[in-house]
């Protein structure tokens, strides 16, 4: 498994980026407190937390009954390689282009 690539896949998602940002503002939060910030269903937020933890961008710590999440500053530094977000931006644009043109071609044929 290519962990470096996983880090970039992790930050490609806007909700996950928002979670990272949330934790830069408030350094330690429970899963419930994080989920309270999103319209998304709680299990979806849990899934995002799982992914961020799996690629080591987050560290979690059990405190009593609650699990607290923090940023892993060391891993965050890896994102200093900015090419992946740039690639992702162009990939999104080109995928949209492809979908639009396919749709137009189909319409012409109908």
């Amino acid at each position: 498994m290519n962990l470096r690539r996983d880090v970039f896949q992790a930050i490609a998602d806007p909700t996950r980026r928002a979670i990272l940002l949330l934790l830069t503002v408030t350094p330690s939060l429970t899963a419930g407190a994080i989920a309270a910030n999103f319209d998304t269903a709680r299990p979806t937020v849990s899934k995002h937390l799982q992914i961020l933890t799996a690629c080591e961008l987050l560290q979690s710590e059990q405190n009593g009954r609650e699990m607290y999440y923090q940023l892993n500053a060391e891993k965050m530094k890896e994102i200093d390689d900015f090419i992946e977000p740039f690639r992702q931006m162009w990939d999104d644009r080109f995928s949209k282009l492809e979908a639009i043109m396919k749709q137009r071609a189909k319409k012409k044929h109908d």
Partner: protein
């Protein structure tokens, strides 16, 4: 998942190359790059003008929900050969990034597939690095806007 768009950016150079293969005939790929109404849909910017002729000018703009200008860019199309090649400049307004030169090459792979090779040349190595950082910062800003909206509901 296969990564369709590839970026080739060698260290300490002031250029980079973006390549992508499309499940589209080269004519449609070309149309998507020369028709203002279509460009607007996939680039995610408003297209104020796009003159697909030699020495023609173009201008892109992005505004927020309140109509405030977030981003504006312009350039000149130096030359174009339909379904094969476009050479143009690109410059973002109100940011100190300077003009970049873009070579877009379109090639048919089969009757229904094609490939785009986009070579971008920056004024300096440093400017290329700054450009590469932008999408990430943009993503963070978007997340930040979202947070500002939901901040009042923070428990």
């Amino acid at each position: 998942m296969e990564r369709k768009t590839k970026i080739h950016a060698e260290k300490d150079r002031q250029e980079l190359t973006i390549t992508r293969e499309f499940d589209l005939p080269v004519e449609l790929l070309w149309e998507a790059h020369t028709d203002a109404a279509i460009i607007e849909q996939w680039m995610g910017n408003k297209v104020l003008k796009f003159e697909a002729v030699p020495h023609g000018g173009y201008q892109f703009e992005t505004t927020d929900a309140n109509g405030n200008m977030l981003f504006r860019a312009n350039g000149v199309i130096h030359s174009l050969i339909p379904n094969r090649k476009m050479v143009r400049t690109f410059e973002m307004e109100n940011v100190p990034f300077d003009v970049q030169l873009e070579y877009l090459e379109f090639e048919p792979l089969t009757a229904d597939t094609s490939k785009l090779t986009m070579q971008i040349i920056y004024r300096s190595v440093e400017l290329r690095e700054q450009q590469l950082k932008m999408p990430f910062e943009y993503g963070i800003n978007m997340a930040h806007d979202r947070l500002e909206k939901i901040a009042p509901t923070l428990k």
